[in-house]
Symmetry: C2
Subunit: 358 residues, 2 copies
């Protein structure tokens, strides 16, 4: 199949600090070529969905609009490629919602939209496309459809999908529920029971999503309708700027996926186990790639992870389970268990006035 | 007293790897300004002994001769300042012995020589000078005389001096024995018993040392005599190069101080506790100085020591007792207990052909 009937939505938002000092506020993860393959994560996301994309809408912050267009110059002036600027980050539901309402206006309520994170990595894009085809078929049947990742380990870093009965559609099962990031023991049980990782990929009819929003979050539906109504007109920016700040700060998982799953309206396509998905959530995940960044010289340094972004030779002697990252202007030394605290350090740099390092 | 009657000997040898990557083979510790005071450790050693120095002889390797003269240009052509090049490092006894035999030839057997490491630091040079004066007086009485450091903690990084009865000389006691670096429990006992640290400072008559060598190590005495005989003559280099490689590889402690102490011939002057001596043996010692090197941003990082030699901001999050050192071309991450293994890493760099980093 080579049909292009999927309207791809790529929310390219919050930088986070999980990959600081590699990622920065002004150079977030999705703008980086973390694999050394010559394409940034955002570019690779576009690349792997091109074959099915009737349209592509990237939703990003004003600060990143120019960088996005510089990386994807074909989006500038293309009739079916869009960069939508959100005035502020309000989590994924407003971003995906706005893009969906714009798609619905342009291409009709039957258009199938699919949202895909801008900063994940997939080793086998061909296997993603076959999963997308199956998910799009379920979406055309009215399901909010997610693509589930077969766990490779009992990770407590991801939310899980509890799959239910098979539906009368190729590879598609109903979703019993979505569950939050579990502790290690619960994660092991989930994996034993065939749960899947939630990678945040959702496909659904544009009208179906709008219907769920109108029912579950009417004020969000109204706000998005108002913005979409004004889009492309004289008062677009005025309506956007006056409406957006009042939209609820909420993820699509909580806003739609979980409540609709409880009603039996969500389906899942388990991706082929060979998909090779990773969200590159930390430096250890990055280390597992065969990247071209510099390595360290290790003497009795088990479990250490390095990301050497300078010409400096990094030497680790007699240290365990460390994470060491070097960039031309900053060096981080931490360990996995402390990675969440890197944000505190970045906040402290802000206090010091080192905005250049944020 | 302002008399200049001490013939200072400064062995400036082995670089070691305890301060790698700050110190390098071609830029050993004694050539570095580790305090940021504007003088290198070697320069500071000369500075603090100038007031008592009838002559100063620096014994160094061929690789460092030019750097030594660049740091001490006044040594070039000065009638009483010498840089003696040893063909290879053979520990401290041959180096101090050669300098002593040259002093004896120039200034007579009654000349008092005093050897002082090139890479130690002393906070109060005035207190060193008063100790040197007392030690020189004991040396003139025929004692091999050391200056003992009052311990500030029960360190197991130093050898200790076991002081005995007071001699009939100001501040001078006989030495019962020298003891090797102890374990922590033994060190605590030594400190309780009033033992002193052995900082490798020895003063003695040039003829006295030659007499001990002739008696205890006749082959070393003969070799040094042969070299001193030829010194300044046509066959100096020939005799040096043919004789030196056969001299015994031995420290002055083992060669002379220990056996002569057993005979009752060694004295010690306990330095004033306020002397502020340190051998800057590792980065933790360096960290205790109020240096001008960059600091790190720490979030829950107790006991960590950093030496930041670049403009990079070093951020430590959730790590304990680490030692982190940055230089423009190398970064070391280790911990105190593993510091001895840094040599293995430097050897591995040599194997890699990274001689630029050694």
């Amino acid at each position: 199949m080579t049909h292009r009937d999927l309207h791809v939505i790529i929310p390219a938002g919050g930088a986070g600090t999980r990959l600081w000092p590699l990622s920065r506020r002004r150079r977030p993860k999705f703008l980086l070529d973390l694999t050394g393959a010559g394409r940034t994560l955002l570019q690779a996301t576009v690349d792997r969905l091109e074959a099915r994309a009737a349209s592509i809408t990237i939703v990003t912050g004003a600060a990143h609009r120019d960088a996005v267009l510089a990386q994807l110059p074909e989006f500038d002036g293309h009739p079916d490629r869009f960069v939508v600027t959100e005035p502020s980050g309000r989590d994924s539901m407003p971003a995906i919602g706005l893009a969906t309402y714009l798609v619905r206006r342009r291409y009709g309520a039957d258009a199938v939209v699919g949202s895909f994170a801008a900063d994940h990595l997939i080793a086998r894009p061909d296997l993603l496309v076959t999963a997308v085809d199956a998910a799009a078929a379920a979406a055309r049947q009215g399901f909010v459809t997610t693509i589930g990742i077969t766990p490779t380990e009992p990770s407590s870093a991801y939310g899980y999908i509890h799959p239910g009965a098979a539906l009368d559609l190729h590879r598609v099962r109903r979703v019993e529920s979505f569950v939050e990031k579990p502790d290690a023991a619960t994660a092991a049980r989930y994996v034993d029971q065939g749960y899947l990782w939630n990678a945040g990929m959702f496909l659904m009819g544009a009208g179906v999503l709008a219907g769920h929003l109108a029912r579950l979050h009417p004020e969000l539906d109204e706000g998005l309708e108002a913005i979409a109504d004004a889009w492309g007109g004289r008062d677009q920016d005025e309506v956007l700027d006056s409406t957006w700040p009042h939209l609820r700060h909420i993820a699509i998982d909580h806003a739609v996926a979980e409540p609709v799953a409880a009603e039996g309206g969500v389906a899942v396509v388990p991706a082929d186990p060979g998909l090779g998905w990773t969200d590159l959530g930390d430096f250890r995940a990055l280390d597992e790639l065969d990247t071209r960044v510099g390595d360290a010289l290790r003497v009795e340094a088990p479990g250490t992870v390095v990301h050497v972004g300078t010409d400096q030779r990094v030497v680790l002697v007699g240290v365990e389970d460390l994470v060491v990252v070097t960039t031309p202007d900053a060096i981080l030394v931490t360990r996995d268990a402390a990675a969440q605290k890197v944000k505190e350090a970045v906040d402290a740099l802000a206090q010091e006035g080192r905005t250049d390092l944020l």
